[in-house]
């Protein structure tokens, strides 16, 4: 494996983790969607590069799907939806930016320790790739936990999916089936979200999850 190829893959994966941190940092809705688009773009670059290194043609298709679907179509649709819902100006994070970032650092450190320790035997590329993928997943989960808004939660979920694709791409020779399924889940997730958001919008004019809470069963 030429060192140069390893360096680029390493750089791209690291860049994805950085963008995940940026996602955590965003408190504006529109900004959030733009950073997510960047996140998806970097993912497609990294998957493309993996395809180039492992010269596995199917990875190119995955990179293309990630680019077209996640970097372009979904952000545009989300943008339109956010503007129509009129929630683009809401600011919402829970527990402030500072502690969330610190927690993010801790998570990245944890995933490094766990993955490097666990994948002692694998190829260095795979080890790096998995470590970064795990940290992106954990950061996505952290984002979902610290956001009140339905849209930002969906974006958090999508960033987890990106982490998964990064991990899947990193796994050499993983059969094509997995890529299709990940893409498949993103597609369906998006449709379901769309349907729900409109339904929710139609029902009680808010997408804020807090507003939704008081309809919980047994609340009477």
């Amino acid at each position: 494996m030429q060192p140069f190829a390893f360096e680029v893959a390493h750089l791209l994966a690291g860049l994805m983790v950085l963008v995940s941190f940026m996602l955590l940092y965003q408190d504006r809705m529109l900004g959030l969607i733009r950073v997510f688009a960047l996140h998806a773009f970097v993912l497609s670059l990294s998957v493309g590069w993996q395809a180039h290194i492992q010269d596995a043609p199917h990875l190119y298709i995955t990179a293309a799907i990630a680019l077209v679907l996640k970097a372009i179509i979904i952000p545009v649709a989300l943008n339109g939806m956010v503007v129509r819902l009129g929630i683009h100006r809401t600011i919402e994070t829970v527990g402030g930016i500072g502690p969330t970032m610190l927690l993010g650092m801790g998570l990245v450190a944890l995933s490094m320790v766990v993955m490097l320790h666990a994948t002692a035997g694998a190829t260095p590329l795979a080890r790096e790739d998995l470590a970064f993928a795990l940290s992106v997943v954990l950061l996505g989960l952290l984002m979902m936990v610290t956001r009140r808004n339905a849209v930002s939660q969906v974006v958090g979920f999508m960033s987890i999916e990106n982490g998964l694709i990064l991990a899947a791409a990193g796994a050499k020779g993983m059969p094509f089936v997995v890529e299709i399924s990940v893409a498949f889940s993103v597609l369906v997730a998006f449709i379901v979200i769309g349907v729900f958001l409109f339904r929710i919008r139609e029902r009680f004019d808010a997408v804020d999850i807090e507003a939704m809470q008081e309809f919980r069963g047994e609340r009477q």
């Binding site: 829970v94 944890l110 766990v114 989960l141 936990v145 999850i209």
Partner: protein, 670 residues
């Protein structure tokens, strides 16, 4: 052969239970079901008596492929099981006979008939079960069917609450027994009793199994700390079922305890006897003190079951103590006393519940404050109830006295026990036993006196009428049994010998050969008692006195208004009621045991409203043990309930925390 016949009997009862679901709509349905139950119970009784009296040699075994897959259901009848079969089916037969008449008044027969037959079947099954699964299966089935029976009159919220407490305590008992059997069976799962007997146990294990058995069987029998459900549940059921619950089911619980502790656990340690003895003593006294405070006839009888169970456990405790010190002949005496009291109690307790059922039927009243003067309107029931009261108060000619007398003889043997704990416990328990016997007499003077004697305190009591023929025959049969057991105790003791040898390895000296049918527990010089002669003397001298007086002096008689120290004819309210009769006892014992408080509210001068006297009794065991547990669970449920109303985000944080925690574990783990 006997086991097969017994199983066919049980299958018959179950078939009746299923049939009853259909038959209960027919007008003659309840009579049909009770008659068939009677016939089957009598059939099983005959088989049981045959194996019990003449059955000799090894216990008869049978294994069916049902139950636990690789072990199958084991059934065995040794003479101990045969004795308890006799007790169960005697109770079943007399109750069915009584129910032939009493059952007609049941307004929802559909809720009683099917479960009644199933209840009898499950009790029979418990006694013949010979492996852990079948035993617990039929044990819990017994609780389930009796829960359904207690819930028969479900419109009354107290009955529902009583049913709920009952099934909860029953399940607690079963789970305790389940743990006990888990220990005995070991990890490999040797659940058959035969394997359990041979299995070698660690030294700490039998002690723990005893405690668990006490929790399990004790809660079903009604030993004090776990007795709270019994006075709630037994009165809630229809009267003939309460008779079965009190008279027979508690005996099946005693059987369970004896089977586990004496049979499966092998040689006992001395502190077992001490524990059971002390528990028995406390149960006896607390039971009778509670009973004294009641003015609901059926609750009074239910509390009395607790007292008699205490007496039985005193006998068992003594037997354990003697067995631990290898005094097997003394253990045989103590166990014979306990088993004889099991039989006696099932006879007179059923009789008393039948009587209270008859009273409840005609007057619709359970509260003694509204009864009175029933002896004039229900003379036969009154006579039979009186015989029951005399028997339960352990007075000479009848059977209650004989088993108590044997227990006293066993206590008198115990100075030879070496352990210091026992040296102090036995006399103290002896005093408790004597105290409870005397208080029992007081309680039943109150019960009989207030409800049957004096003048009727309510319209319902005034219009009472005698019950039907069937109930009376059942009651007279039981009364006759009380007398026979009291007069010819020797026969019963010899009959019990094989059962006692199975359990303790020795039995009392043969009583049959003694002159004049008297019984000598240990030695001629030590003590002997002749029921027949005492009865003959009393009857003889009474009739002699009557004859002489009527011959020598006049037999003239004149009716007049009662003298009552010259007071004019007052309203029935001036008579002593149940709570006023118990007032002196309450003053002496009540303050300590029940924190009894009497609050008298006198009306203002010139205010016509009557003065009111309220007696508040706190049931200590209920306040100290049951209420904290209930509120504890409620508190935990409230605290955890918040977790139902969180936002999605917080639920996600649970998942997140779980993931991070586990990752940390893996990271730290070597």
């Amino acid at each position: 052969m006997a086991v097969a016949a017994e199983l066919w009997g049980v299958a018959g009862l179950l078939a009746i239970a299923v049939g009853a679901i259909a038959a209960q709509r027919l007008s003659v349905g309840s009579r049909l079901v009770y008659l068939s139950c009677l016939l089957v119970s009598v059939a099983i009784l005959v088989v049981a008596c045959d194996t019990f009296l003449f059955g000799v040699g090894a216990p008869k075994r049978l294994v069916l492929p049902i139950g636990l897959p690789w072990i199958g259901a084991h059934f065995a009848i040794d003479s101990l099981a045969a004795f308890f079969l006799v007790v169960v089916n005697l109770g079943g037969a007399t109750t069915s006979l009584f129910a032939l008449g009493f059952g007609q008044h049941e307004e929802a027969p559909g809720r009683v008939l099917p479960f009644y037959a199933a209840f009898l079947a499950s009790m029979n099954l418990v006694v013949i079960a010979a492996d852990a699964f079948t035993f617990l299966f039929s044990w819990e089935l017994m609780s389930l069917t009796s829960w359904a029976l207690v819930m028969a009159h479900h419109h009354d919220p107290d009955n529902r609450a009583a049913g709920y407490v009952y099934i909860l305590m029953a399940s607690f008992g079963t789970l305790a027994l389940l743990l006990a059997f888990g220990l005995l069976a070991g990890p490999a799962g040797a659940y058959a009793f035969t394997d359990m007997r041979e299995a070698a146990h660690a030294d700490w294990l039998p002690g723990l199994v005893l405690v668990l058995a006490l929790l399990g069987a004790g809660s079903k029998a009604g030993v004090v700390p776990l007795h709270a459900w019994l006075p709630l549940a037994h009165p809630a059921a229809p009267s003939h079922v309460s008779a079965l619950l009190s008279g027979v089911m508690t005996k099946v619980a005693v059987y369970g305890f004896v089977r586990i502790v004496f049979d499966l656990l092998g040689v006992p340690q001395w502190w077992w006897g001490m524990l059971v003895l002390v528990l028995g003593g406390i149960t006896a006294v607390l039971g009778v003190l509670y009973a004294l405070m009641q003015h609901d006839l059926k609750r009074l009888l239910a509390y009395h079951t607790v007292e008699n169970i205490g007496i039985i456990f005193i006998g068992l405790g003594l037997a354990l103590a003697f067995q631990a010190n290898a005094m097997s002949w003394a253990a045989a005496l103590a166990l014979t006393a306990a088993l004889f009291h099991v039989l006696n109690h099932s006879i007179f307790k059923s009789l008393l519940f039948f009587g209270s059922g008859a009273v409840l039927n005609t007057t619709g009243e359970r509260d003694m404050e509204h009864l009175g003067g029933l002896i004039h309107r229900m003379p036969q029931t009154a006579f039979v109830f009186l015989v029951g009261c005399v028997a339960i108060s352990a007075l000479p000619p009848l059977n209650g006295f004989v088993s108590e007398w044997l227990t006293f003889q066993a206590i008198l043997l115990s100075p030879d026990l070496p352990q210091w704990g026992l040296k102090f416990a036995v006399p103290a328990v002896g005093a408790l036993l004597a105290l409870s016997a005397a208080l029992a007499a007081t309680c039943f003077v109150k019960a009989f006196g207030v409800s049957f004697l004096g003048r009727p305190r309510s319209l319902a009591a005034e219009r009472a009428h005698e019950t039907d023929r069937w109930s009376l025959t059942a009651m007279f049969a039981l009364a006759a049994l009380c007398l026979i057991a009291g007069i010819l105790p020797g026969l019963f003791i010899d009959a019990l010998a094989p059962a006692v040898t199975v359990v303790v390895g020795a039995h009392m000296p043969v009583q049959g050969s003694l002159p004049w049918l008297s019984i000598v527990p240990i030695a001629e010089s030590r003590s002997s008692y002749n029921g027949l002669l005492v009865f003959a003397f009393i009857a003889g001298s009474a009739s002699l006195a009557a004859y002489v007086i009527h011959k020598v002096a006049t037999g003239a008689l004149r009716r007049a208004p009662p003298w009552d120290c010259g007071y004019p004819d007052l309203s029935p309210a001036t008579q002593y009621t149940a709570s006023s009769f118990a007032q002196p006892i309450r003053r002496v014992f009540g303050d300590v045991v029940f924190r009894a408080r009497e609050t008298v509210t006198m009306p203002l001068p010139g205010d016509p409203t009557p003065a009111r006297l309220q007696v508040t009794l706190r049931d200590l065991v209920w306040d100290v043990l049951y209420v904290p547990i209930g509120s504890g669970v409620g508190f935990a449920a409230d605290k955890l309930n918040y977790l139902q109303f969180l936002t999605v985000r917080r639920y996600l944080s649970f998942v997140f925390v779980a993931l991070v925690a586990l990752l940390l574990v893996v990271a730290i783990w070597p």
